[in-house]
Symmetry: C3
Subunit: 173 residues, 3 copies
């Protein structure tokens, strides 16, 4: 059983597959009161994505201050000014970076440096995408490789790492 710690500090990484309940679990780790920041990397490009974003917003309620950060994640993290933040999610950010032609290794280094300097606690959601069959196309393989390395890099600087399966969290670190 995972108990919420309102005084918890530092970096928490929440990993899981698609529809594993990782976002709901990540939200459950946040304090019940006070100013909270939601850092959204998603952009509502189509109906499917809009519906998903609306579902997540409805669950969170209206007390959150949302920062949209499809690309400039470190800037958004610094703007939290020590308030507890929930970042959802790293894999969508990676997808946006790849589409924008950014240098992923450099962006990963900038992010981990920024996380280690952050004054407030942050809970970070990310997808596990590397446990299926090797994808046919090269771009999907590149994405999978970058996602794996990004998760490793953030897990290395995280104070706590959870893996969520069918709504059940397991603490890995």
């Amino acid at each position: 059983m995972v108990t919420k710690d309102p005084n918890s500090t530092g970096i928490t990484l929440v990993l899981g597959g698609a529809r594993s309940g990782k976002s709901a679990f990540a939200e459950s780790l946040m304090p019940d009161t006070g100013d909270l920041v939601y850092i959204a990397t998603a952009e509502p490009r189509d109906d499917e994505m809009s519906a998903r974003i609306a579902t997540h917003q409805k669950r969170r309620g209206s007390l959150w201050n949302t920062i949209e950060a499809p690309l400039e994640l470190s800037k958004a993290l610094k703007a939290t000014n020590g308030k507890p933040a929930l970042l959802d999610c790293l894999t969508l950010w990676l997808s946006n970076l790849m589409e924008a032609g950014r240098d992923i290794d450099q962006e990963t280094k900038t992010l981990t440096a920024c996380l280690q300097d952050l004054p407030g606690p942050v809970v970070i959601v990310s997808n596990e995408v590397g446990q299926g069959i090797v994808p046919d196309n090269a771009l999907a393989r590149q994405f999978r490789d970058h996602a794996g390395r990004l998760n490793q890099a953030v897990a290395a600087v995280a104070d706590r790492v959870y893996f969520v399966t069918a709504g059940i969290p397991t603490q890995l670190k």
Copy 2:
């Protein structure tokens, strides 16, 4: 090490990837004697599927009473009348439901309500399908989303949840 408990009651969910040994592990949780019910959601549509069903039947032996339930799962569960049942598997049932155009959210609610009212113990097998790369086509993404939510819903009412990797069970709940 997992020890078989012949008096065990309630709902046990066994999750795992393809060829993870989840069916064999689920069968190992069943009592050695007495009337047992096997609820099969698979339909032998092609040679590949027929061969798979035959392999599973051979391993179980001939003492089981089999109920075929490609769609009407709750009806099959009620028909067990308190006898220990093994249900294999939820993901194939979901696939049949989607093909038949059923309302998945409603079917999920009906199933979890039925499970909570069941007089006898049941072991349920299901696949983890959400830890690979995002599928190209929309139908596969829908299936993955439904499967994740279905696994979460059943895990929430289950007394025990196992995840099987390379034949080795890990208890999640």
Copy 3:
């Protein structure tokens, strides 16, 4: 925390998804000194693969004796003569076997028999590929099925089994 045991013997299986850090973790389990054998199943067929092999070689350093074994794995294992060996990886070997039209069930039996007779310790790396959506094409499904059974068979004879997620090992056995 996993502590390296330079006197450790027997068979260790390290499973994980793509870019999970499983190779680096497997290498960390090897002794720091003495003659070490690296059994490589990869063949540098394209630039992507060549780059990956070069990265792994650079990390290992030049003290290793490398045996290339795209197909004849048991022969390579016997040639270690009791020296600690790292085998990377089983899934690439399976891929080579399938391409060469070999009998996978027979090859799996030969491998597990050879492993149980081995005088020295061996650390074996393999991929989890069965936790995504069912692949469209039959060959990918066959590969996934064979990989699952091969991992089960090797896990059954292994003394220790680890699963690596985002660089973090979890001991399954």
